[in-house]
Symmetry: C2
Subunit: 215 residues, 2 copies
């Protein structure tokens, strides 16, 4: 109301600097939180990994929790996008293949986000807002209904739709969260793109060849 215009609207360069530094902080933070959790991660570590002094981290974020909750929001968005492949009008074989591929792709390309969320789930989801919890439940319900619909139409065999969804999530998630174990299992130091491809075809084989009757 009384502030001057130059005070209210930030300059372009200021905004760019803010955007760049926030991104640096968030990128370092998700990696650290994903490995050591909220309490285990030190602001000083985040600062060092971002190449910024610790005080600058506090310039951009009010406190540790503010960084953490911003990251949760980002992961939930990515989570939703993979699920968008499951639509009732698609044939189950196509929809589920696409979903499995997309989810594995997310596990490969956003491994630290995935681990970060896993860490938050191990904690019991204490940092999720009520709204975010509700959103996750609604999304789950929505897709469980699509799967149930396919079962009613006889397009896939009848099993418990909730546990069916859990299987999809568990198998694809594993390759991000426990990539150490997965890599050791295939006798490599790190999982490669071709390991992910083998994972994809194995999951599709086992889940789809059983559940979806041949055309």
């Amino acid at each position: 109301m009384t502030g001057k215009k130059t005070k209210l609207s930030k300059s372009n360069s200021e905004q760019r600097i803010r955007a760049r530094n926030e991104a640096k902080i968030l990128k370092s933070a998700v990696e650290l939180f994903s490995r050591k959790g909220f309490d285990g991660t030190r602001i000083a570590e985040i600062a060092e990994a971002s190449g910024l002094p610790k005080a600058n981290v506090y310039y951009y974020f009010a406190n540790k929790a503010a960084i953490y909750t911003r990251l949760i929001e980002g992961v939930l968005t990515g989570w939703d996008r993979a699920l968008e492949h499951i639509t009732p009008d698609r044939e189950p074989r196509e929809a589920l293949s696409l979903y499995i591929a997309a989810k594995l792709d997310y596990s490969r390309k956003h491994a630290s986000e995935s681990r970060f969320f896993a860490n938050e789930m191990l904690r019991g989801g204490k940092f999720l807002s009520r709204q975010q919890k509700r959103h996750m439940k609604e999304i789950t319900r929505e897709y469980a209904r699509v799967i149930e619909g396919w079962m009613e139409e006889g397009k896939i065999v009848r099993v418990d739709p909730n546990h069916f969804l859990i299987m999809l999530w568990a198998t694809t998630q594993f390759y991000a969260d426990f990539s150490t174990v997965a890599a050791a299992t295939v006798e490599k130091k790190h999982l490669t793109a071709s390991d992910f491809e083998t994972a994809r075809s194995t999951i599709v084989d086992i889940i789809l060849n059983n559940c979806v009757p041949p055309r």
Copy 2:
């Protein structure tokens, strides 16, 4: 060499007290570590949860890492026991059903041990000794070979045996590590024995009915 006998061999009551207090500490520690990880867990919290003063925790364990590594050893033992159901002489349907049931049972009854190990894997397994890593690899190899054997005999369909093993582990593990998500998915506050039973039959249905040809 110079110590008196009474100094070398502890009395029965001393041993019992030690055993009881160590057990209390380990039980509290596994729950806390499983939720907050190594760096996130405070010795004071462990002490409080055990009902002992902090200094007593240090009387029984040299430091935080000593508690942590003792717990890892315990989890690996439990892990092995579930796998023992997979033997080459058994029919795949029987062996795999037993394994899935045993692993889910472990997830239900030892959820915090399971989460604890998941946390350690998220960290990348930094606390595992070289010996423990080798043991895990050998065990994995051994069971992958059993599965490969069944495939060669035509007893189960041919898929990648490593990724097949991963699927078994991922689906059963999920119900312990992400029980929050699983409970929300089935629209309950906590998973019950009957939820675990539905999980078991769904996993068995999807994995076995596809992979194991009907008798």
